[in-house]
């Protein structure tokens, strides 16, 4: 009998009618997001960065632009060069994450945000100033030290630069006078190599 199939279809739609809709009201509600999500915003720690430009070299698209000048700082402490320009053109970025893999000092992380729509292509370029000022919610992608702690970029507090690395690095500690921890109070007792 053909009619029974139709009645079955009516039951299916009625089940949908009774159950809770699957819609998520996006700006107010959000889907839970995986901590390894590779977002459109990058997280960059200037204090960890030595301006080696590995990220720019490894970028398959060549969309990271770094301009530096000698700062007069000490080479072994990673402060010989100061950053003038650090631009990431996410309008052309494919979020492969090779820049993050290449960074030897864990200074560059994938971000966790994704609301990066802009009216002009030129606005899609992330400049150093924005990277400096941004709240650091790094993705745990390719960063086992964050994942090991169970860090969730969506809900947890921002990660300060000292806690972001995969191992403690004493050279950074006395560098910036005036920073909390600059007096070396919480310096690790034994320097760890890398």
């Amino acid at each position: 009998m053909y009619g029974l199939g139709i009645l079955n279809g009516f039951l299916v739609t009625m089940k949908n009618f009774i159950k809770k809709p699957v819609t998520i009201q996006y700006p107010e509600e959000r889907n839970p997001q995986h901590p390894r999500f590779r977002g459109e915003e990058f997280v960059w720690y200037e204090d960890r960065c030595t301006a080696c430009a590995s990220c720019a070299k490894y970028c398959p698209l060549g969309i990271i632009k770094i301009v530096t000048h000698p700062s007069g700082g000490k080479l072994p402490e990673g402060d010989a060069y100061a950053i003038d320009v650090f631009d990431i053109d996410i309008g052309r970025c494919m979020f492969c994450g090779l820049c993050v893999e290449a960074c030897p000092y864990d200074a560059l992380f994938m971000g966790s945000g994704f609301e990066e729509s802009k009216y002009k292509r030129a606005d899609l370029v992330i400049h150093a100033d924005r990277l400096r000022a941004a709240e650091k919610h790094p993705s745990t992608w390719f960063r086992p030290q964050l994942e090991g702690r169970g860090y969730d970029p969506q809900s947890d507090a921002p990660v300060p630069w000292k806690e972001a690395g995969r191992e403690s690095w004493p050279h950074h500690l006395p560098q910036r006078p005036g920073e909390p921890g600059a007096d070396g109070a919480d310096a690790p007792s034994s320097p760890a190599g890398h």
Binding site: Y2, G3, N16, P21
Partner: protein
């Protein structure tokens, strides 16, 4: 002053408030609730009559328009829920202002007339489309003693008036100067004329039972709802009228996936809005007719009669939305086969059985009515089962073998 408006309570109220004088104490008795010395002098009753009639028309038409816009919101929300989503909920609380936003959008749009269009017919078509829908309201009883007119051939009038919309669709399709609109118009004519027949025949069973064509008398004649006595008639009427309103699964007059949007492809702005209003309004009036014919109309316990009528109308509207959310669109040959091979024989069987029962049984006894209900239920189930077994709607897919000489030689 013999008039079909006589029985209307609101009409009498306004009329007597304006024109109650010693002269027409017959129409407005001094002990009546509205009696006082009227505003108009003797001999001016015609003006009171006109004003009262216009007031009622204004009230009914405007209430209907508001209801139709509310219905668009209800339909979109319910359709969303049937598809496991939310539907419009951003404009105002729960999206309640969505109909207003839609109306503003449509009014602000440019009103285009295609260069190749037949301007007069093109502009006239939306009007011809919406007027029959409103005209149906003239005979529909909305509640106890409240209807615009108690016409003694009410249901015949409804059938006659609603079939005008076929003409409107063909006018729109023909005058647009657009192939898709033309296809839509042709499909509309083919489909709507086919479905007119089973729909009219399915009403005949109700008329045999009620013994009257007036919708007011049909409501009063229903001792048990006719949906129990006429399940087959109800099924045929529901299926046929959803085809007449171009609702899915019979919406191939405006099949988006095939012919853009059918007969109103070239319409924009408020003309398009009028088409939409006519379509959504048709759902409400058809639900109203179904409630009147099959579900005792405004009658019901405890609640006021108007509220009962609204509840029943929206019950059937819900049924239409459920059907729309569930069934996919049919092919044109399937639609035609459904009308001629399935609905038409079923409605003829329904008339035959009902006529025999009306002749054989004494329908004034309640026990006989329940007996009829039992028999008709069984006939409905058997009839639908038998016809769905033996009637093929559309052909089977055929096996086509194409010989490609080159390929067979190579093997």
């Amino acid at each position: 002053m013999p008039s079909p408006l006589e029985g209307n309570a609101l009409f009498r109220g306004i009329y007597c408030w304006l024109a109650a004088n010693k002269g027409n104490a017959l129409q407005c008795p001094p002990d009546g609730p509205a009696f006082k010395d009227g505003w108009l002098p003797l001999g001016w009753e015609w003006l009171a009559y006109t004003i009262a009639a216009l007031a009622i028309v204004m009230l009914v038409v405007n209430a209907f328009m508001v209801l139709a816009t509310i219905y668009t919101y209800v339909e979109r929300r319910l359709l969303g829920r049937f598809q496991s989503r939310l539907g419009p909920n951003r404009a105002g609380p729960f999206g309640l202002l969505q109909p207003i936003a839609d109306a503003i959008k449509l009014l602000a749009k440019e009103d285009l007339v295609p260069a190749g269009a037949d301007r007069w017919v093109f502009n006239l078509a939306p009007v011809v489309m919406v007027v029959p829908v409103i005209l149906v309201l003239a005979v529909l009883p909305f509640g106890r003693h409240s209807f615009v007119a108690d016409v003694n051939i009410g249901i015949l009038y409804v059938v006659a008036v609603t079939s005008i919309s076929t003409l409107a669709m063909f006018m729109a399709g023909f005058s647009s100067g657009n192939r898709y609109a033309m296809f839509g118009g042709m499909r509309a004519v083919a489909q709507l004329i086919s479905y007119e027949i089973p729909v009219v025949l399915s009403i005949v069973g109700v008329l045999l039972l009620a013994g009257s064509l007036s919708l007011v008398s049909i409501v009063e004649a229903q001792r048990i709802p006719y949906i129990l006595l006429q399940p087959l008639g109800f099924f045929v009427f529901m299926a046929g009228s959803s085809a007449e309103m171009n609702r899915s699964p019979f919406d191939l007059v405006e099949a988006e996936s095939e012919i853009v949007s059918g007969y109103h492809t070239e319409y924009s702005g408020m003309k398009f809005g009028v088409f939409q209003l006519a379509e959504f309004g048709a759902v409400l009036t058809t639900s109203g007719i179904m409630a009147t014919l099959f579900l005792k109309g405004w009658e019901g316990p405890v609640l006021p009669s108007h509220l009962w009528f609204l509840i029943k109308v929206f019950l059937f509207a819900f049924l239409f939305i459920w059907v729309r959310a569930t069934l996919p669109r049919l092919r044109l040959d399937q639609v035609m086969a459904f009308a001629w091979k399935f609905l038409l024989p079923l409605s003829l069987i329904n008339i035959f059985i009902t006529a025999i029962e009306v002749l054989a049984l004494d329908t004034t006894k309640l026990a006989n009515l329940w007996l009829m209900a039992g028999i008709n239920m069984a006939v409905a189930v058997l009839g639908i089962a038998a016809f769905s077994r033996f009637v093929r709607l559309g052909g089977k897919p055929r096996d086509i073998t194409i010989e490609i000489p080159m390929a067979s030689e190579a093997r």
